[in-house]
Symmetry: C2
Subunit: 765 residues, 2 copies
Amino acid sequence: MAIGQSMLRVDAHDKVTGTAKYTSDLEPRDYLVAKVVHSTIAFGEVKAFHLEEALAVPGVVKILTCFDVPDVPFPTPGHPWSVEKAHQDVADRKLLNRRVRFYGDDIAAIIAEDNVAADRAARLIRVEYEEFEPYVTVDQAMAPGARPVHDEKPNNVLVHSGFQVGEMTYDEAVAGEDDLVTVQRTYRTQTVQHCHIEPPTSFAYQEGDKITVISSTQIPHIVRRVIGQATGIPWGNIRVIKPYIGGGFGNKQDVLYEPLNAWLCTQVGGRAVKLDITREETFASTRVRHAIDFHVAGAVRRDGTIVARKCLANSNQGGYASHGHSIVANAINGFKQLYRDEKALECEANTVYTNIAVGGAMRGYGIPQSCFATECLAEDMAHAIGMDPLEFRLKNCMQAGYEDPHTHVQFRSYGLQDAIQKGRELIHWDELRAKYQNQTGPIRRGVGMAIFCYKTGVHPISLETASCRMVLHQDGSVQVQMGATEIGQGADTVFTQMASEVTGISVKKVHISSFQDTDTTPFDTGAYASRQTYVSGMAVKKTGALFKQKILEYAGYALRYPVENLDIRDDQIVDTVTGETLRSVADIAVEAFYSLDRSQHITAEATSHCKVNTFASGCCFAEVEVDIPLGKVKVLNIVNVHDSGTLINPQLAAAQVHGGMSMGLGYALSEQLLFDAKARPLNGNLLDYKLPTAMDTPDLQAAFVEVPDPTGPYGNKALGEPPAIPGAPAIRNAVLHATGVAIDSLPLDPQKLITAFTEAGLIDD
Amino acid sequence: MAIGQSMLRVDAHDKVTGTAKYTSDLEPRDYLVAKVVHSTIAFGEVKAFHLEEALAVPGVVKILTCFDVPDVPFPTPGHPWSVEKAHQDVADRKLLNRRVRFYGDDIAAIIAEDNVAADRAARLIRVEYEEFEPYVTVDQAMAPGARPVHDEKPNNVLVHSGFQVGEMTYDEAVAGEDDLVTVQRTYRTQTVQHCHIEPPTSFAYQEGDKITVISSTQIPHIVRRVIGQATGIPWGNIRVIKPYIGGGFGNKQDVLYEPLNAWLCTQVGGRAVKLDITREETFASTRVRHAIDFHVAGAVRRDGTIVARKCLANSNQGGYASHGHSIVANAINGFKQLYRDEKALECEANTVYTNIAVGGAMRGYGIPQSCFATECLAEDMAHAIGMDPLEFRLKNCMQAGYEDPHTHVQFRSYGLQDAIQKGRELIHWDELRAKYQNQTGPIRRGVGMAIFCYKTGVHPISLETASCRMVLHQDGSVQVQMGATEIGQGADTVFTQMASEVTGISVKKVHISSFQDTDTTPFDTGAYASRQTYVSGMAVKKTGALFKQKILEYAGYALRYPVENLDIRDDQIVDTVTGETLRSVADIAVEAFYSLDRSQHITAEATSHCKVNTFASGCCFAEVEVDIPLGKVKVLNIVNVHDSGTLINPQLAAAQVHGGMSMGLGYALSEQLLFDAKARPLNGNLLDYKLPTAMDTPDLQAAFVEVPDPTGPYGNKALGEPPAIPGAPAIRNAVLHATGVAIDSLPLDPQKLITAFTEAGLIDD
């Protein structure tokens, strides 16, 4: 049994020794370099370029500007294509843009022999702008009379949506009972950036009529499509190769610079062009996690029953639509799903164009924001009625069998309550809640928690389709080709385990092709949501069954044996009736290749169109120590408990959780991309942007409640994004427990805490 | 209709502009270089190395010798593997050899940071040998008491074989008639080298447990297998990538340095190692065309009927078996097939180990040698009875329906006699034969001819199996993946045409993946024989039909239309009954990818196990002018006429013929790799080895008799090797016509001609 084993990552050796190949390792010979010229204003129009001096720099090959590019708007998010216009993504940007919509917008590109020349030229380009007053916040952009960031959206609201659950409105529900306690708050989440190790990097070159782009992306097949949309090149003439990548976390679920690079290469006769960007450009000009403001209210009975909630979420989209409204729509769905409202639930959301960095996909896709609001509100309701917040959650949280009334996503397996109980024990909840009551003094401790749920794939909101191909080698080993992508999360390893499980070929004999090449790799939409182990895993299982059947059919022919009595176990063809080992798969493979009677190269390929989905869930418990005068929160202990179905590889699962928890710590305590009034990023670099380091990180505890999910290919469901979700509200709630002060915005940085503690009288003015 | 069109080569643009990628263009970062140390004696034993000085050279990483390599003998020829031991190739060499068997044998390898260090170290290595007297000729090696080159073959005969056709022996046939004219001669062919532009080059590197070798080879899947045999690495752990290659002509149908390079890379921790060799090493240490001596006799009636022939062919194998006996076996088969012997035919062949460069595969695989002997004998028999040699050939040559009594290969289509008649007209045979009678003076002209036949694939002597995969792109274009390899001959282009023909997708929308990657490319044994358009073409046709059916099935589903009424024409789905165009393939493709009802990524893959074969045939006519005192032959006019079935691409077919004719000119007149008595190559470089240049080459005329072959996938049969076959004997026979002097060995160089003309009294002593 390969499933459930903590086998070593298949890429462990390569990544540790440095032989793993990333985009930059695959440099074509004699490539040129491209440097993007970014706007130095956040909102306005480019009027003219003065390029003479730049063009005179030795080594500069060509400079192309927003006046040169095709007049074709295109979308960038990594969503499956839709044949229905209404379901297609918002196409609101061009390869280079005359209308500048954020500080760092792409307005020109320099192609040069080397970086030195490109950098010198960039400094010598003068740009004339007409500058407008930029909008940093949604409130500014939504204010009456605000100038449209995109002319198509006069009020700067890209999309407004909403829904109501229950038979009455929130106000009617509140008015209908006397003794309700209501809580009304605004919870705010900040702009953060993915901070993947490897910035976006690509090479583009032309051979014949084929443009090849090697790129650090999560979504090679979607990159191909968007290059086609942006450049007009037929999709089949575009080839995207994805090697190992140094993280993505959703930023590389946008099609960032590949279309520009493909087009630039066509402007220099198809010669290879490298387009990589710096860390600072990654902060300013790629994607960020949306800052969302949640205006919420909740009404609760004294017995702890939630009667009604409502939520208005305004999402700061920045200058372009990218993933657009789907993220805040996901956020209000998350608000809806996590608790039962006895009478009423109202949700509304706006996605608002502003002039800050563009919001895109990031691990959790709106749910870390949503969870912060939902779990602050839950905590604050429990707090308001004096109820233990854990008991409050057990009483009100979504139950086994819950089905979303709109998307109809269900819990096909349910472990949330068990996860809460497991976390309660691991953190010593009851003991610590009692122990940390009534503290005084400058240093106080507290314990807090948060729960979450998360859907696994994107069905039925979007298409879920995945293919796999398997090739039998002569030594009885199997080559597995996935459209799904390894982005550091261990996908290749779990696919290897699944391929072994379904075929009976030992994991040592499963070779996975880690690179995707859209010319020949089976199709898959790529690494996003928490879909691959679930959706793409189904393709492995389906293909593996077909592949095994082909081997057994050949074995039946070669051995003159009834196929229905044959199986593969531990690389051997066995008689299922007697258990006898008949021949090795290797022997059958060699026979199949080289038989003079019937030569057959055994391969199998299949598409799995997934039309099911399931919720994963879980919780985080945090114990903190707050230094009130310093405004400093130290996380003493933190534990995530995940209801993610069967674990394919427990060690990798734990690693996945650790990574997400670390991201949650930064989200809770230190990370925030700041903008000044001109919408200029203030701290878009790794010195000033406070990503947590090892020194800031306590031991991270990962625990699991393994309830096999009947829809998962091997009982598994979402685990990729969930670990990043519940940390911030758990820490915020622990600080509330420690100090009695509820902080309603992220991050809980010293400045904010000192202000809040001062207001609360914990620090003398 | 794509078949029969002279479409531009699919790689034309890339090859003309220099964007086509060859092995050296794919250099991995930070690779080391390997240099092979070759023996400086031709026969003996390595006793010791003195490496101290070499190891002290800065930049030298490691030196490995014949005392370090695995003690595993392996074969090198590019033949399909056989599960039967008796049909496996001779495994007679190791990665580096202690027993030295030719001048330039591989005895050590230096791995260094750069070529300068490697070259310096190579000069500083001292080797102690025990030296034996080497054998240059088969007669020396077969002499009684000769020392065995390989201990397993005490008489140095690797294999002896023979057959007899007819009810009596040659001698009985001759004794049975009174008025027979007999001719008894020895015809000798020389050692020549392929002289492909790009010498053998490879990179090897390790990632995880996978060794990747990028190599300039004709046979990537076989290279993988032989690396496995030589190194003990499981075959599935070896990945061979074949980019564009600068020619092969059979030399790269041997597995030359890839196993050594793969092993070297494992000796430096898996780091990338480049192993390329110089032109001089290519001459001395790779493969050559076998020199074969034919001791023949023929008995003919005065009416021109051949009564009996016999042939003993001794093939100079050089130091290792490589393709072994199969080449001279092919040669005596060729001797057998080309003419009908009324009473008797006897053939014998010996493959003899000597100490010259190793004989391997080269375009024509023994048949250029055989054709020289066969067509000299035919000419000399016709000459002996005073019959027009063309009429002699028409009377005696193999007829329609001929079936080889041993291999059972047949003419499935027959155009030989028509080809002879066409050539007769094109060269103005009858006019010139009359005109050039009775010449005198130092400059004389003549016209000569030769015919040939050639089987297409290797069935039934060996396995013929090929696979193809097709992938539908969203724009309705198709990606074609072949195991068969483009080696400059235009394979990718004809496969493109075939894929278009069978699918109904226009050639512009057929994308062929030119590189092979044994991890994922469908299996095929590779480019050799004249098999690919025939055997691998069948795989294209089979796969294309399956692929088209899948598209039509999806179209039937999407359009709610009966599939049996659908077809694809010019990229459109059409109703075959009404002829109406229903939708584009592109529309159906997009629907298939992104349908929310039924998402399906349409691909198809199939193996074609070919169990048929057919003869191609043809002839060459040459008009020459001989400068008797200078011993100089000038070819005034030369025409090849080919019976190769339907031409897939007439322009490429003509180019193929031109290339072969050029090779034939060199074989006839100037090329010979010479060895001294110590078996040292005397002229193993492109200055001293007289490859014909453009200045030596007349206009080359290619003509065809297109008789569609019923077994060819599109009526086609062999065209790859045949053009190189008949040129040499046609020119030799033209010289005989011009001068009355029959030259019985190749090449017809000035020294040889002057000697012969002097002996014949045409030049005064």
